[in-house]
Subunit: 339 residues, 2 copies
DNA sequence: GTTCTTCTTGGGAGCGCTCCCAACGGGCGC
DNA sequence: GCGCCCGTTGGGAGCGCTCCCAAGAAGAAC
């Protein structure tokens, strides 16, 4: 049950290996009639190119690396990654590129995995996600000379190409909207403070809230538990916020439960905004006002950029569309502000 | 910036390529002193094995294939897959196996992807998930001769090895529990009727409900929307059920919202059970009674089985632990049954 | 018919690695 | 001191493919 090789085809067709190679790759060098005959035989005996042999000749690996450095627990919970991956896939599979996926524990092992894959010729490029402030992966990847696309803000991605969306505008849009509704005390329950996009949102939030009353920011690890705890603490303070903006939908849903548990009505007593939309936000009562983004499209764009980079087309970084506010039932004027 | 090869090492060490190969692979054939010298040089010049060259000699690809045939939309929503993947990964990465992931649109293209990967020597084996009734992938994989582990019930996996958990016991446990609480009208909002595990649960549900009042089963596509719609329809019927068992947590959460929207109190007017637990079920009010399963452990077991199969160890299929009922606030005695 | 050009074809090197085979050399038994 | 065995080493074929090079054939121009 040995796999047929181009040698077998050549023998059957009565031509040389070279001719078969040209015919199979659509290259000039063989006549059309010979090509057809070779293709027919190849098809008949079920020939498949051996990627190893191709790779040995300096060809592409036709695979992209993605090492995810997140605890499995969080990974399983957040729709973001699966949506991102399906977006990446849509573009990659159209070009017959596979995705090499590996969950790693920390940055050093993520770096090691990338070095190994690249060194062994298993991948043609890689994505970097969840950019940290002063991310150690960036300088290593810059040195490695491997095509890399950072999915995150260019401020932290060094000389690497990045695909990002503006974090500032959605923050401003949200705060302005809440202020227009009459809110003066807006809190933000944020994600990991180490992440670049968290700090960017923090800064913009601080600026957008200038002139308002106390606008606290609490950092969490994105889990529902921490989102619930932070919410409980905020709502127990003497001057509780009338609106909370969450950094993901999981925490927003958890926060909604806590508010209802504490006897508050949403949105009358508390308005809630979730960053990143998902079916989850629409399924709870009231459905959550959310900052919606087309994550699969975002991933697809990143994949296009990386494939371009691999092809040697030197296009620059790409700014994707920013998230836009999608008001639903969880936001409204605060009862106290009866204007 | 060419990558060093064993030829370079051999030249520097003043030995032959053969000796280097033996030294690097920990095989007998070189003296310990030579081995050490070679390893030192290899380390110094940063040598990495070229996987393509290795694969060319019939070696492993050190990668496993997983083609997911689900719309991206559902994929992004269900925690199940990411948890499964992180479980697979935990075991695979420990053995330095990578996961080749590809999202495909239908079974024919999933089959094509597997054939290509296997034919091209890119993978050493593959997982099959979401087993359908009379699944067309099974006979193809049997013919292909590739190591495959089916993550699903052995009744549908032909001669392929499978890793599964009993679907019957959890159904019985759930129905018995609800009956003990006093419920007589229990409904089931199920997933896709094409899937093997759906039909198994359906059958068992039918048996377990024997002797009870009307116990309808509604099939959906696992989305929150369809779960909500099915719930609304059931609760609008003249004799509405006092308990609903959902096939995933997304639909259970959606169903909870619908019930509350319709002015029903959970669990007094309606008890809710979710199949497959996740933080989501614990975050809503009341927290959902759920059939809990350790999905990462399930995935890890599947990975172990597949790696064993690849190594030629012929262990049989493996039955994993069945899901167990984890009662929370969403179940209780129906108000009508004041016993 | 001859020469030149152009298209087609066969031959073969080389990619980096593994592994078989033969040669070499030192330690041992006699 | 001689021959033998075994541990060590060098040499080299071969994995399946790509691509360069040269040779052959066919057609055009004279």
């Amino acid at each position: 049950m040995k796999r047929p090789t181009i040698g077998d085809i050549a023998r059957q067709a009565g031509v040389s290996k070279g001719a078969v190679s040209y015919a199979l790759n659509g290259q000039p060098g063989v006549s059309e009639s010979t090509r057809q005959r070779i293709l027919a035989i190849a098809d008949e005996i079920g020939w498949r190119p051996n990627s190893a042999a191709r790779a040995l000749n300096g060809a592409r690996a036709n695979a992209i690396g993605l090492a995810l450095c997140r605890p499995a627990r969080i990974l399983g919970m957040e729709p973001f990654f699966m949506e991102l991956i399906s977006g990446l896939e849509a573009e990659l599979s159209a070009r017959d590129f596979a995705l090499m996926l590996q969950v790693v524990g920390d940055h050093p092992s993520e770096i090691a995995v990338h070095q190994r894959w690249w060194g062994e010729g298993r991948i043609d490029g890689a994505f970097l996600v969840d950019l940290h402030v002063n991310d150690p992966r960036v300088p290593v990847m810059e040195d490695l000379g491997m095509p890399v696309v950072v999915i995150g803000d260019p401020s932290g991605s060094g000389s690497l190409m990045s695909v990002w969306s503006d974090e500032g505008a959605p923050v401003r849009e949200t705060v302005d909207y809440l202020v227009a509704l009459g809110h003066r005390r807006i809190a933000r329950i944020a994600g990991l403070p180490k992440l670049v996009h968290t700090t960017l949102r923090d800064q913009e939030f601080g600026r957008a809230c200038a002139g308002l009353d106390d606008c606290p920011v609490v950092h969490t690890d994105y889990t529902g538990e921490q989102g619930a705890r932070a919410t409980r603490r905020l709502l127990s303070s003497r001057v509780r916020p009338t609106a909370i903006v969450y950094d993901n939908d999981i925490m927003a849903v958890a926060g909604l439960s806590v508010a209802q548990e504490m006897g508050l009505t949403v949105p009358a007593d508390l308005s809630i905004v979730a960053w990143d939309d998902s079916p989850l936000s629409q399924v709870v009562r009231p459905p959550l006002t959310a900052l919606t983004r087309d994550i699969p499209a975002y991933g697809a764009q990143a994949a296009r950029q990386l494939l371009g980079l691999i092809d040697g087309l030197e296009r620059g970084s790409h700014e994707d569309r920013a998230a836009t506010l999608n008001p639903r039932g969880s936001t409204g004027p605060p009862v106290s502000a009866g204007h």
